[in-house]
Amino acid sequence: MTNHNGTILTVNDLKTYFQTEDGIVKAVDGISFQLQKGETLGIVGESGSGKSVTNLSVMRLIPEPPGKIVNGDIIFDGIDVRELAIDEVRKIRGKRMAMIFQDPMTSLNPFLRISSQLMEVTRLHLGHNKKQAYDHAIKMLKTVGISDAEERIDSYPHEFSGGMRQRVMIAMALSCDPELLIADEPTTALDVTIQAQILELIKDLKARMGTSVILITHDLGVVAGMTEKIIVMYAGKVFEQAPTRELFATPANPYTKGLLKSVPDPAHEQGKELYQIPGLPPDVAHLPPGCPFAERCGYVQEICRTEYPPFIQINEDHHSLCHFAREVYAESVQERQAK
């Protein structure tokens, strides 16, 4: 199980902005969190919420220009990632922190055999010779559940199915036994049955290797079973941050509540109208002065349109960005008790 023996990653008031024709886009505008060793953090949000940019910032993968980390600390195991020279970053990236992307179809090189793509990582970071790297690659493919690894290792990516390619990506990410694994929508492009396989695999590897994981997804179902704590993002801001069970049981932010209610519940009677959050996500380049969610919020008051909401602490680990966070929380607690 999880072993909390120290912090692996601290992100403090991170702000990453992009310069666009349309003005400055504050893709991530102040996010702070701590990730303990062996822990899994879920980052949930819709497209454009800033969840991917947060993690690209941590990996120092923001294209500059147009993007720039304008503020904040990223401390990975005592190292200040923002201060590192780019060749120093490269020594960490892929070795001590690794990333799995959403689309296994485009993140493997179609012209290279699976074996050479896997070998490249360990030859670079662990100084393996050809033979060592090849053997290690086979071992990694077996680890991620590719049964006839010896025969399949010299295949090209197109000879693998989507689920198998995602396994290869995971094998590659885990090749150097990283301390931090960032998985950005790792199962979104996959079928539910394959999604279940991949999530089970990540859980299992985490338990065996003690890797800390950041799981980025739009699917509340996926984070429910996989994470210890969750950050909900909206329009570049952290809207709510809480331990997983607490967030699902007693959300303190209207956006989180809305998201949870708008997922069809299998126990739900057919034909009953689904709860829907009205309207559309805002244009991040032109945010209103008040709360970015105000236009879509059922709890909206005059103050929400004029004043930016405070980040209210509900209890030790639970925060919500809302003028009425305490009221929303109290309502959730009541609803919970009524159940």
Partner: protein, 346 residues
């Protein structure tokens, strides 16, 4: 016409869509059996959900019904006419009644046409209105799907995914269809927008008495929208029943695994439940397994499953499944397996 026929708007009989792949001067051609003998009735006014993994043939089936893909064999009856064998010109005429909503709202709208022209095109093509009345019809449709009529001169790229899907729905509704195939209409959308589109589809169905074939890999959405659910695997329907029934008592091992794989947004349920994890991928439809196509991944497979092709038969009232290890007398495969029963059905 018998009463059962009048209840159905679409009646599909042994429909097959086979694609030829490869085959040169010296090599034999192979066939992808995307749809391989589907028989299915769609009742007037219902939403029939069609679920399955990618590559199972669900989209091909939807397209073949509307002849957007040519069926290889079989019949599709709509109001006594066999759509599968209508000449193209006669089929075009039928498209007034039969429409489609596509998955990708980015690729299915012509980027060089204004929203007004996109929605107005089918109205003009079928001569349903002309001149000024087209414009007013377009504006009316835009309001119906929740788009402001001010947007009529805008182009698709100016809209978000959810709004584009609304445009796609308005275009499908423009000809006043009776039957709509909705192929993954929400899977490219954000969570908060998915609920909006599902509610819109339900409202329109009630207002316009529409019949939907709702194709999706999202079992939660299918459960929410559908009256009946058909489960497809490697080109065949393997289970068919009332939506509630399929989730309460799935009979096929495949359906059980599919339902079990869906993550539930509740950490307490997630922590407690035992998930059935299928091993391996969907086999290739070029060379599908012999016998029951699911036997390669089925934990209950026995020797006979590799030999006998199971038929879709009624196991419980109005609940059909295709498995030789279950029968009306012995509907539950776990118990049958515990008792050591082999082949009981078909």
């Amino acid at each position: 016409m018998s009463e059962t026929n009048e209840k159905n708007i679409i009646s599909i009989q042994d429909l097959k869509v086979h694609y030829k792949v490869g085959g040169g001067l010296f090599t034999a051609a192979k066939y992808v059996k995307a749809v391989d003998g589907v028989t299915l009735d769609i009742e007037k006014g219902e939403t029939l959900g069609l679920v399955g993994e990618s590559g199972c043939g669900k989209s091909t089936l939807g397209k073949a019904i509307l002849r957007l893909t040519e069926p290889t064999d079989g019949k599709v009856f709509y109001k006594g006419k066999d759509l599968a064998h209508l000449p193209q010109s006669a089929m075009r005429e039928q498209r007034k009644h039969l429409q489609m909503i596509f998955q990708d709202p980015y690729a299915s709208l012509n980027p060089r046409m204004t929203v007004g022209n996109i929605i107005g095109e089918p109205i003009r093509t079928f001569g349903l209105a002309n001149g000024k009345s087209v414009e007013s019809k377009v504006q009316e449709l835009m309001e119906t799907v929740g788009l402001s009529r001010r947007f009529v001169k805008r182009y698709p790229h100016e809209f978000s995914g959810g709004q584009r899907q609304r445009i796609g729905i308005a275009r499908a509704l423009a000809v006043d269809p009776e039957f709509i195939v909705a192929d993954e209409p929400i899977s490219a959308l954000d969570v908060s927008i998915q609920a909006q589109i599902m509610n819109l589809m339900e409202r329109l169905q009630a207002e316009k008495n529409l019949t939907y074939l709702f194709i999706s890999h999202d079992l939660r959405a299918v459960r929410h929208l559908s009256d009946r659910v058909a489960v497809m695997y490697l080109g065949r329907i393997v289970e068919l029943a009332d939506g509630r029934e399929v989730y309460r008592d799935p009979l096929m091992p495949y359906t059980k695994a599919l339902i079990s794989a869906v993550p539930v947004p509740d950490p307490e349920i997630e922590a407690a439940r035992e998930r059935i994890i299928l091993t391996g991928d969907v086999p290739s439809p070029i060379n599908p397994p012999s016998g029951c196509p699911f036997h390669t991944r089925c934990r209950y497979a026995i020797q006979e499953c590799k030999e006998i092709v199971p038929k879709l038969v009624e196991i419980k009232p109005l609940h059909l499944a295709a498995c030789i290890r279950i029968s009306p007398q012995y509907p539950h495969i776990e118990e049958n397996s515990k008792q050591g029963l082999g082949v009981v059905g078909n």
